[in-house]
């Protein structure tokens, strides 16, 4: 990543820098408007005024992958949709994260058959799995806060290796 590739580890300077960069990333992480099935309705309810995901920096659901940092796979991924999900994930700029919302995205859930991908982690690296069918909006927000904890722990060295 940018300067870290050049700087590497400079002790106090880069840790303070890491905290600043991670702080800025966790407070304005825009998810991609990418609802597949029933979990998308719960995601919309989480975005609406009652549960209000905007309190956690998710002000907008950007429609195009070019302007979004987080891909919430909300719903069941069918075999026909899998390459599209993979391409959308590729087209998101770095640094990007992925939340598998709901049982169908995490492990195929109720549908263990020919049509559904058994877990979206077969095609994209998932950071946080949110359980539930569909998970309540609070569960999704809890998943997002867990993701923020994970992002806060990011150090540049890992990013350089990855």
């Amino acid at each position: 990543m940018g300067v870290e590739q050049k700087l590497g580890d400079m002790g106090i300077v880069t840790t303070k820098l890491e905290e600043l960069v991670n702080w800025s990333r966790t407070n304005a992480m825009w998810p991609m408007l990418f609802g597949l099935a029933c979990c998308a309705i719960e995601m919309m309810a989480a975005q609406a005024s009652h549960y209000d995901m905007s309190r956690f920096g998710m002000e907008l659901m950007r429609a195009s992958p070019r302007q979004s940092d987080l891909m919430i796979v909300a719903g069941r991924v069918s075999r026909k949709m899998a390459p599209v999900v993979r391409r959308l994930y590729d087209q998101m700029p770095e640094p990007k994260w992925a939340i598998a919302m709901g049982d169908c995205a995490s492990c195929g859930g109720v549908f263990n058959n020919y049509a559904i991908l058994q877990g979206v982690d077969e095609i994209i690296p998932v950071d946080v799995y949110v359980a539930g069918c569909p998970p309540r909006p609070e569960a999704l927000i809890h998943g997002i806060v867990t993701l923020y904890e994970k992002v806060k722990g990011d150090t540049f060295r890992e990013a350089v290796k990855a």
């Binding site: 991609m32 408007l33 990418f34 609802g35 597949l36 099935a37 029933c38 998308a40 309705i41 719960e42 919309m44 309810a45 609406a48 005024s49 009652h50 429609a63 992958p65 719903g75 069941r76 069918s78 075999r79 026909k80 949709m81 899998a82 390459p83 599209v84 993979r86 391409r87 959308l88 109720v110 549908f111 263990n112 058959n113 020919y114 049509a115 559904i116 077969e122 095609i123 069918c133 569909p134 309540r136």
Partner: protein, 416 residues
């Protein structure tokens, strides 16, 4: 994982005009990930500048193989699958499936369970129309309507959660009645909702109906005449907006709908041509009609206060737990029903219900065993969407967005 190859002209040669090959018209994908396709629908648009010449839907991006999966589960377990079909109208799917099973095995449903089913289904219809209105407003850049609609929807979801423990995928209706009786807090919660909701509908109307910008975008757009609608199998509010008075709750009353007084909102009965604005108005009127049904249902519920909510036919409905410790037959029935399920006769039936999007029919075929031989869900959005190419030709891309929002499709319904 299959690779995404380029959209080739040969694939669609018989659907698009040949001007697309010469590059005169543009082939554009309004693809699976698009803010205004209400889910994962891909529309291959053939555009001449802003005018839509052809809008070819390509569905299947959410195909879940539900019908195949239901063949591998017993009748009671298969009901869990129906919730995930039309995820805006989950209790309606449950009702359609339960009525099909009851019709196949000849199971009776007690009076109180029928009233509870009607109330919950009508509340779910209001919730589904609220999401329709929210998405409809969002597509026409009226952002605030989305937030207002979801505010009311939360009240209904609380009521559903109070009865069944789950906000959306309730599986609250079971073949033979309802899972358990409504809790005592159900009555005040629904009464409050009935009291505040009419004012909220007037609030939506004040925001949208007389808004000149919206009228310009809706009136005269996406004309669908009754003859084409019936030939394309369009049912529900979209058909009623084109002047055909066909509502299964009135035509073939089920669950005691004949005892409720309500009218079916139908527009341009004589001109038989409905546009996007009519479809929007039919949805708004249906808010008020459904509320009337809920109100009459609540009064009826009060009269049948302590009646059973499950049929006492032990061959199909598991006995209450209190009885198991006492009587031997109850234990046998309990054990048999929960391990193997009940066998159904070797025959097939078709029973239809009026879902917020149209006629939701279930073709259920038993083969004598505990598992259904074939379950086909005739879902309304599948046929409602097939008419989109015909009614959007010649309109602008912005109108296509409004028309797609007005026919209110749900992709879980279409791809099953």
């Amino acid at each position: 994982m299959a690779q995404l190859e380029e959209v080739s002209y040969e694939q669609y040669k018989h659907l698009v005009s040949e001007r697309a090959l010469t590059g005169e018209t543009m082939l554009l994908n309004m693809g699976p990930q698009h803010p205004s396709t209400h889910g994962v629908l891909r529309l291959l648009l053939e555009l001449d500048g802003e005018t839509v010449i052809n809008a070819i839907p390509d569905i299947g991006y959410l195909h879940t193989g539900i019908e195949k999966n239901m063949e591998a589960k017993t009748y009671v377990k298969a009901e869990v699958m129906t919730d995930r079909l039309d995820y805006m109208n989950t209790t309606g799917n449950n009702l359609a499936y339960c009525m099909a099973v009851e019709k196949l095995v000849g199971l009776d449903v007690p009076e109180r369970a029928q009233v509870i089913r009607v109330i919950i289904t009508e509340l779910q219809r209001i919730a589904s129309h609220l999401v329709f209105l929210g998405a409809f407003g969002l597509d026409l850049a009226a952002m605030s309507v989305f937030l207002y609609c979801f505010r009311e929807r939360e009240l209904i979801l609380d009521i559903l959660e109070m009865c069944s423990g789950q906000r959306m995928m309730t599986t609250y209706f079971r073949p033979g009645g309802v899972w358990r009786d409504v809790p005592p807090e159900f009555e005040p919660a629904v009464r409050d909702f009935i009291k505040i909701f009419p004012k909220r509908v007037d609030e939506y109307e004040a925001l949208l109906t007389k808004n000149p910008i919206l009228l310009d975008r809706l009136v005269g757009i996406g004309i669908l005449d009754a003859q084409t609608a019936l030939s394309y199998g369009v049912t529900g509010p979209t058909l009623r907006a084109s002047g055909v008075d066909w509502d299964l709750r009135k035509a073939r009353p089920y669950m005691g709908y004949e005892q409720y007084k309500f009218e079916v909102p139908v527009r341009n009965r004589e001109s038989k041509k409905g546009d996007t604005f009519d479809r929007y108005i039919v949805h708004i009127d249906e808010f008020r009609e459904s509320l009337k049904i809920v109100e009459q249902g609540m009064d009826k519920l009060k009269q049948l206060s302590n009646q059973p909510v499950q049929s006492d036919n032990r061959k199909f409905v598991p006995p209450p737990r209190s009885e198991i410790g006492v009587s031997m037959e109850a234990l046998i029935h309990h054990f048999k029903l929960w391990t193997e399920g009940f066998p159904a006769p070797k025959a097939s039936i078709y029973s239809a219900v009026e879902s917020p999007r149209g006629e939701l029919g279930v073709y259920l075929e038993g083969d004598g065993g505990p598992k259904p031989h074939r379950v086909h869900m005739r879902t309304p959005s599948f046929d409602n969407l097939s008419v989109i190419n015909k009614i959007t030709q010649g309109h602008l891309v912005a109108d296509l967005v409004a028309i797609l929002a007005s026919i209110d499709i749900v992709l879980g319904d279409i791809d099953r």
